[in-house]
Symmetry: C2
Subunit: 133 residues, 2 copies
């Protein structure tokens, strides 16, 4: 699979893929002519990366999940050595979401869309964490 195909298959661009590669998020073989060559796996991986980026994570954040980017992301890869990092990141994500939700509700309230209460739990079961210096 060459870069253009992968790009189409994942709804992104060749440029972005090269970028991910140099960020260490995906890897490629090289064909005799120097062209990048990807396997099927990579498409999934890229899609997962995109999911996370869309969620507002940075590439660095994403790289923390590097180990569990293959596979469904919504189905298993249980007990990884990246779990701790992942949990940290998850906590960060939760914080971020909570803040946005707070702002959203402030806004909605200001617009008279919410009755000045309604604290929707943004994160069902999640541990609390702070810094990871």
């Amino acid at each position: 699979m060459r870069i253009g195909e992968l790009a189409k298959a994942t709804g992104t661009t060749a440029r972005a893929l090269r970028h991910y590669e140099q960020a260490g998020l995906i890897r490629s073989e090289r064909a005799g002519n120097g062209y990048r060559d990807y396997d099927e796996q990579t498409a999934i991986r890229v899609r997962n990366i995109r999911h996370l980026l869309d969620a507002g994570l940075t590439l660095e954040d994403v790289s923390a999940f590097a180990a569990c980017l293959d596979g469904d992301l919504a189905a298993a890869t249980p007990s990884d050595r990246g779990r701790r990092i992942a949990l940290d990141r998850l906590a960060v994500l939760d914080q971020r979401i909570a803040r946005q939700l707070a702002a959203r509700n402030r806004l909605a309230t200001a617009l008279g869309l919410l009755p000045a209460d309604a604290a929707a739990p943004p994160t069902p079961r999640a541990p609390k964490a702070e810094r990871v210096p």
Copy 2:
């Protein structure tokens, strides 16, 4: 109130305040010596701006709320002519939050923290919207 005081009072920096000013989000009088002079109102305004920025809005987004940045933001300023814009932005915010929540849940599931269901309603009562070209 001078810029340094305002900065401290709002937990931000003088630079940022100048930036907000040049973005048209806050205004200042000038003392005889050329120093910026703010009134108490502005502190509230700045805090509201910060709230929105923290929620992931851009300064441009925020400027859409310019009219309702004084006051509590969580208490009234009802029926404004900025409402339509505000509603649009709110929708965008909702989308953003929903995406992040989706990612969060994918993640949590991958980590075995969620039983592969649990779709927490990110936005209680919110209208749906798309583009605003």
